[in-house]
């Protein structure tokens, strides 16, 4: 029985896992880098151990150090979260060797699904539609030209080990194939150490829609419905929702069945995600499988009503799934926004810094999965995502209204965040209508720029706020006041009405 879990991660996802542990009566062990001594996951955990310097390669990616702590603290299992070691088959294998349960699929599944050509083969064998193309390795530019002609333009040339938008080229004309093929190969070699590339038909007006699945160690697999993840910036998801406004019940049912078939084909154990591309004609194709918890898992939790992390732990502990496919119902609508410390007006430059003021939204239908607090310094070493804001409501329209309200309440000062940008996203008519594909951010660039401020009372109020602060400090710092106790200084201090809010 699992009684103690080490969480090999940081940030909001580490807290997310620890929350589930606490509810299940399981002790949690945090690991942290030297930059993370004051991070929430260290404060939250029952036990905590430093595993090295700030760079991930010397801490959160160090298999040896993490296993050392796991053994020292006598943990029964390790939860990898997402990112870092979560899709590292070697790490899963090493856990197995040490007799520690790795909360995720077995290493062979991770290897099978990590290699895109392999994964394609598995899916074809399982009868899951894949994007037309070849699953064979290409051996020459000439072969590439032949394949492209056969499946028809436009095509994508992709690195087998690629990901996150790297090592891929879109080709529209036969005369561009050779150059793209060569560029892709060399990028793949330098980026991933493997120059295997393959070719797929380019999907038009594509939606990125994924299905959450759960498989236990007894061969049962269910899917928990879909998530629409087409609001992407440089292949990174920004806003996700469930259910997808694009799917109809029939297509949802077909895709769900395909997702279950896909998971069964690889004997999948744990929580996983089958990502599909859906074109504008509602054809769907297997894209890839993520063999871990996703950042956007909460939107599924909100509409389906299950706790996915608890399910992961129960599955890892050998329990049979208690939920049957026919019991899974999507109720209402959920939307997630990723809150990032980045300057959307300066090419999304990351913006680490100290949070001087933090107001998080609350009230009906609001969920915050976050790892920051007022006074926290966001380190520069890790991902700029500082938290996730999830809303639920009975209908999509109400969920959007709730998200507007929540973004209005959300106040982070001291550093730059994307909160206003998110607000503009959900105000775009195409988003409100639920009629968008992965081109959304590019197509709506202009609408996503900050609107020019117009002269109104707000502007004058901003002037007043700054001016009064300036005067308060000026009065205070005036040399005359140093030996004076009352007068000017105290007059200014009287601005603070109450002890708690008294400035200065």
């Amino acid at each position: 029985m699992i009684r103690k879990i080490l969480i090999a991660n940081r940030g909001e996802i580490a807290i997310r896992v620890m929350r589930a542990c606490y509810e299940m009566g399981i002790r949690s062990v945090a690991v942290f880098s030297e930059a993370d001594r004051t991070s929430r996951h260290v404060l939250y955990a029952n036990e905590a151990e430093c595993i090295g310097p700030a760079p991930s390669s010397e801490s959160y990616l160090s298999i040896d150090k993490i296993l050392e702590v796991a053994k020292k603290h006598k943990v029964d299992a390790i939860h990898p979260g997402y990112g870092f070691l979560s899709e590292n088959a070697e790490f899963a294998r090493r856990c197995e060797e040490e007799g520690i349960i790795f909360i995720g699929p077995n290493p062979q599944t991770m290897i099978d699904m990590g290699d895109k050509i392999q994964a394609r083969r598995h899916m074809i064998a399982a009868g899951v539609p894949v994007v037309p193309g070849t699953q064979d390795q290409l051996n020459s530019p000439e072969e590439a030209v032949g394949v492209c002609k056969a499946i028809g333009f436009p095509v994508m040339i992709k690195a087998s080990m690629g990901g996150g938008g790297k090592g891929m080229r879109l080709v529209h004309r036969v005369e561009d194939v050779v150059e793209a093929y060569n560029a892709c190969k060399s990028e793949a070699m330098s980026g991933f150490g493997d120059d295997t590339v393959y070719i797929e038909k380019f999907v038009e007006g594509p939606h990125h829609i994924e299905f959450q699945i759960l498989g236990d160690k007894h061969g049962n697999v269910v899917h928990l419905g879909d998530r629409e993840c087409s609001v992407q910036r440089r292949h990174q998801k920004v806003v996700e929702e469930s259910p997808s406004p694009f799917l109809d019940p029939e297509l949802r049912q077909k895709m769900g069945a395909a997702a279950v078939a896909a998971a069964k084909a690889v004997g999948y154990v744990g929580a996983g995600t089958i990502e599909f591309l859906v074109d504008k004609y509602k054809n769907f194709y297997f894209l890839e499988m993520n063999t871990r918890l996703q950042v956007e898992h909460p939107v599924t939790e909100e509409v389906v009503g299950l706790d996915l992390v608890k399910q992961q732990i129960l599955i890892a502990d050998g329990h049979e799934l208690t939920i049957k496919q026919e019991d899974v119902h999507q109720r209402g609508h959920a939307i997630e926004c990723r809150i990032c410390a980045e300057d959307t007006e300066n090419n999304f430059r990351p913006a680490p810094g100290v949070i001087s003021r933090l107001v998080e939204p609350h009230g009906p239908g609001i969920r915050i999965d976050s790892a920051v607090y007022e006074g926290y310094e966001i380190p520069m070493y890790y991902d700029p995502m500082i938290g996730k804001l999830i809303v639920w409501a009975t209908r999509r329209q109400y969920a959007i209204e709730r998200m507007r309200r929540a973004l209005y309440e959300y106040k982070v000062a001291g550093l730059v965040t994307n909160i206003r940008y998110l607000r503009r996203i959900i105000d775009v008519p195409q988003f409100k209508e639920g009629n968008y594909d992965t081109s959304f951010i590019e197509v709506n660039q202009d609408r996503l720029r900050p609107r020019p401020g117009f002269k109104n009372d707000s502007e004058d109020m901003a002037i007043i706020a700054a001016y009064i602060d300036y005067l308060m400090n000026y009065e205070e710092n005036k040399p005359d006041n140093i030996n004076e106790n009352s007068s000017a200084l105290n007059r200014w201090r009287a601005f603070g009405l109450q002890k708690g809010v008294l400035r200065v």
């Binding site: 890790y382 000062a413 001291g414 607000r423 901003a462 007043i464 001016y467 009064i468 601005f495």
Partner: protein, 170 residues
């Protein structure tokens, strides 16, 4: 006092103050507001029955503010006589390459491409920095010579820290 907000230059005068109630004239318009300042930079203003919840971030000099209010960020500068003088001087320099390259944010030095004494042409890349898994390059905008390199690869540096100093070809 003159206050710069975005591109606008506003003339601001404090008329009176009684407790939290302040009268202020901005470009000829008089406001009577009730204002509360909070320790964490929050400012609550009631103006004519409307409620404004603003957040102040003060710059290092105490004369620059970023104010977040509703859905806008305002950049505000207090133009006292000293600030005006500095501004005038700076204006003349604004197109020119500064003689120090500073870190734009807390970051790690990934690569240093230059060494002391090296001649640089406009557009030459001096450094690659990394923060939050994103890399970017810093280059010079005019010809100059590297005077001193004050950072090394893999260093972690603070925002505004001087990384390289330059001799400008005056």
């Amino acid at each position: 006092m003159e206050i710069q907000i975005g591109n606008r230059l506003a003339e601001v005068t404090l008329l009176s103050k009684e407790g939290n109630n302040v009268s202020i004239e901005i470009d000829g318009k008089i406001y009577h507001v009730d204002i509360c300042m909070f320790a964490n930079g929050q400012v609550s203003i009631l103006n004519n029955g409307l409620s404004y919840d603003a957040t102040l971030i003060k710059g290092d000099t105490g004369k620059h503010y970023r104010v977040a209010l509703n859905y806008s960020n305002y950049e505000i500068d207090m133009l006292d006589s000293q600030a005006k003088y500095m501004r005038m001087r700076k204006k003349n320099d604004s197109e020119k390459q500064a003689d120090k390259i500073k870190a734009p944010m807390p970051c790690k030095i990934v690569k240093v491409y230059v060494e002391p004494g090296q001649q640089l042409q406009p557009g030459d890349i001096v450094l690659t920095i990394e923060a939050m898994k994103m890399q970017s390059n810093i280059s010079v905008s005019e010809a100059c010579t590297v005077a001193e390199v004050r950072c090394a690869e893999n260093d972690s540096v603070m925002a505004e820290q001087v990384l390289v100093s330059l001799n400008l070809n005056a």
